[in-house]
């Protein structure tokens, strides 16, 4: 009886989800953020990744005529298990794990980032 009365006058135990979001703890492993401006194309993250979600690649720059190359980083969020190995491996702090999880995707899209290729530019200039 006491339990019934208590439950009658207390609010719901569950969260009312779309209106009330859960607070994530510090250090939760949510989605992976990449900052290409810090990246040095060293390849540590590709070697550390257990699932092969990160691939580093080079390609000809079709926007320019002088046969320069672009550095590309392909990241497949559907292969990624959010283990954080790449974050620990990156010596330049270019990868970061955010606390909120990634939104569900409609299509299996691989995100491609271009990494600023300063070495090539310097080499051409010198």
């Amino acid at each position: 009886m006491g339990v019934v009365l208590r439950n009658l006058f207390t609010g719901p135990v569950t969260r009312r989800y779309p209106f009330e979001r859960r607070q994530y703890f510090d250090g939760s492993r949510g989605k992976l953020l990449f900052h290409p401006e810090y990246c040095e194309f060293c390849g540590e993250c590709e070697r550390a990744c257990p699932t092969g979600a990160i691939e580093l690649d080079t390609a000809w720059d079709t926007r320019r005529q002088d046969y320069s190359i672009v550095w590309l980083r392909r990241y497949d969020p559907f292969k990624c298990i959010f283990c954080g190995n790449c974050v620990e491996a990156c010596p330049y702090g270019a990868i970061e794990l955010a606390e909120e999880p990634a939104a569900p995707g409609y299509r299996k899209e691989i995100s491609v980032d271009e990494i600023p290729n300063w070495q090539w530019t310097e080499w051409v200039a010198s």
Partner: protein, 358 residues
């Protein structure tokens, strides 16, 4: 009396995972049962031979979603044995910390499903509500609710800071308040006793002969637990297994319900005694030779075997999981019982098919 043979599963409301039992009934009595497995084979053992050995931790963790940390721990310990690595004491204690929290959440999940199996929906909700708190502790300390990914070869990846320890202690106190009434319901409720008391008898000697492990054999009166070996920090923490003499579903349920308390105490003990120091040692070379390791999972004893030849890939990894050892006991428990008791008795061994078939 005409005999009827029909399939039970692989898809059945009480079975969380696909296993098929082919039941032969006479009237309402089960006279024969044949389990059939093979619905979930994923080839993880082969996958482990193709990956570099350090990456396998994350694959082994995914053998089972419920006891994921203990799979990772057992894998790391077998590799450490093969390579002769000594893990720092703080890492050992932290491994016990996460392993016991995993056990708590696994047992609470199972107690909830068991309550659901005999129709007590609100008890199911209460168990999972208490489990949510344990999952919060796991997320706070490791960054993820279910797949912790904190164990690596050579130690652990995350450390606890004093702030976290204070919060965890607070949450564990809340958990005690939540779980005490639930435990009393499991212990004393008449409805639960009428569905479990004297059902699914597994006699003491038969349990040993069939090689049952975990709560299934401890519910039949054997003090048999891989944690008694004292791997990780269990030796220093002074571990005593929980044993019940009943040999029936009730005894197996009580073993798990009491083990939640035991794990709760172990987690508190780890927080009290956590030694200072490093949390991992760098590991450079590759495993060579073979090793075998036993660890205790929520469902029983898991055995890892590995063989390496000095290359980054293992030559062989073999995992013997607890549910595979526990499935044959159904052949003894089920014949002679009522058809309506089949779901409850099947659940009482906590079948984890994802482990069994890997």
């Amino acid at each position: 009396m005409a005999r009827v043979t029909f399939p039970f599963g692989p898809q059945h409301p009480v079975l969380p995972e696909p296993v098929q039992l082919i039941l032969t009934c006479e009237d309402e009595k089960v006279v024969e049962v044949k389990p059939r497995i093979g619905y979930m084979h994923r080839g993880i053992e082969k996958g482990c031979e193709l990956n570099p050995y350090k990456h396998n931790v994350f694959l082994c963790e995914r053998i089972c979603g419920i006891c994921s940390f203990i799979h990772a721990e057992a894998y790391c310990e077998v590799i450490e044995k093969a390579m002769g690595i000594e893990v720092p004491p703080r890492a050992k204690y932290l491994r016990v910390f996460w392993a016991e929290l995993s056990r708590m959440h696994s047992h609470l999940l199972w107690l909830g499903l068991f309550a659901d199996g005999f129709g007590l929906e609100s008890l199911f909700m209460q168990c999972w509500r208490a489990r949510e708190l344990v999952l919060d502790v796991l997320e706070l300390t490791s960054g993820h609710r279910v797949i912790q990914s904190t164990c690596v070869v050579g130690g652990v990846r995350k450390d606890l800071d004093p702030d976290q320890i204070r919060t965890v202690r607070e949450m564990l106190k809340q958990f005690k308040e939540l779980y005490t009434p639930i435990f009393q319901v499991f212990q004393h409720d008449r409805t639960i006793k009428s569905r479990t008391w004297g059902k699914g008898i597994l006699p003491k000697d038969v349990a040993w002969q069939l090689g049952a492990v975990g709560p299934t054999i401890r519910g039949s009166g054997w003090a048999f637990d891989a944690r008694m070996d004292g791997y990780a920090a269990y030796g220093e923490l002074g571990f005593e297994p929980v044993v019940e003499e009943g040999c029936d579903s009730y005894a197996r349920m009580m073993v798990r319900a009491r083990e939640v308390w035991q794990s709760w105490e172990l987690v508190n003990l780890v927080l009290d005694r956590l030694p200072a120091g490093e949390i991992n040692v760098p590991v450079e070379d590759n495993p060579k030779g073979e090793a075998i390791h036993r660890a205790e999972q929520p469902r029983g004893e898991v055995i890892y075997y590995c063989r390496g030849d000095g290359s980054p890939n293992l030559k062989r990894l073999k995992v013997r999981t607890p549910s595979f050892a526990n499935l044959p006991t159904l052949l003894v428990m089920l014949p002679g019982c009522e058809l309506a008791d089949v779901p409850v008795i099947t659940l009482s061994i906590d079948p984890c098919i994802a482990c069994t078939e890997r």
